[in-house]
Symmetry: C2
Subunit: 154 residues, 2 copies
DNA sequence: CCATATTAGTTGCTTGTGCAACTATTGTCA
DNA sequence: TGACAATAGTTGCACAAGCAACTAATATGG
């Protein structure tokens, strides 16, 4: 095989994983601060609430799968949310290991308060792109995720 | 103003910040494990090494700016790197607050070992995209970053 | 039906990160 | 020059996240 250049330098700022990590941190960082400061809700807590808004009566395990958040983190986040009466948690009578989770009235109203902030925030980014660009962006993300899934645990 | 739908639901899986955070974690997660397991180098340590390979004799503060890593993290990472003799750190005689950092011979050889792994890894992702898609991806990342910078600290 | 495996969820522990406070050095300006 | 501000880097501390070990409940296979 051919010899590569000895001065093979990879610029960090051009390295895709780095660029994506930067972008992701910039995006999630700012909005996480908003959730936290204005609503006292952490990022995992907010993600869990989004899932429960869409899929009421989920079990914690389903929340884990949908949010990709580690189960111990979900467990502790749910403790906080139930303690604050934003989430109602009962045990599934059909399988007493499982929990049945749903937003309380209060939880739903907090959700309704935070939601437009999240949407607005996302919109600020999407506004910089044309519709076609947005479509392409999503396609690209999809493709890259597919690659990643194709190479998990060897 | 017009009343919005009461069932205004934002699906988490379609939420851009979430999607990017997922993708970024998938990408950085796998490669970080490789750095760690095979070379005993953490992600911030690797990023610092990349910067020092490109810009020898940088000060720690310059490393912070280029890597966007918090200065205490850089400080501790540099302590480990110097302890392992991968980085040489002296104090700048012209300004004795500053440090002058560069990879040692060992550091450069470790860098040379890790670099192709990083490049290969990135290549696995880029291989899923056409050249035109890669260009567009970078443009999109750039645009989104620009938005983010346009709305820091209000 | 019993022993064992599997699953849901919780908790303990280690580690990494970020903020703030601190030290040491240099820059500024009256 | 001399008081005060600013900067480079370190360290203490608090908190979040992930892994592993654990409990409790259910599924499975002989």
């Amino acid at each position: 095989m051919a010899r590569k250049s000895l001065h093979n330098i990879l610029k960090l700022e051009n390295f895709l994983p780095y660029r994506l990590s930067l972008l992701s941190n910039l995006m999630s960082g700012a909005i996480a601060r908003t959730y936290e400061d204005k609503f006292g809700i952490s990022m995992p807590e907010w993600r869990i609430m989004m899932i429960l808004a869409e899929y009421p009566d989920s079990a914690a395990e389903a929340v884990c799968q949908r949010t990709r958040i580690e189960k111990s983190v979900v467990s502790r986040a749910l403790s906080r949310l139930t303690k604050r009466r934003l989430v109602d948690r009962k045990t599934d009578p059909a399988d007493r290991r499982r929990s049945v989770l749903r937003l309380t009235e209060t939880g739903m109203s907090v959700y309704a308060d935070v939601l437009p902030v999240a949407i607005d925030y996302e919109q600020q980014f999407l506004a910089a792109l044309s519709d076609e660009e947005i479509t392409r962006l999503n396609q690209l993300i999809e493709k890259l995720m597919a690659v990643s899934h194709g190479m998990e645990k060897p």
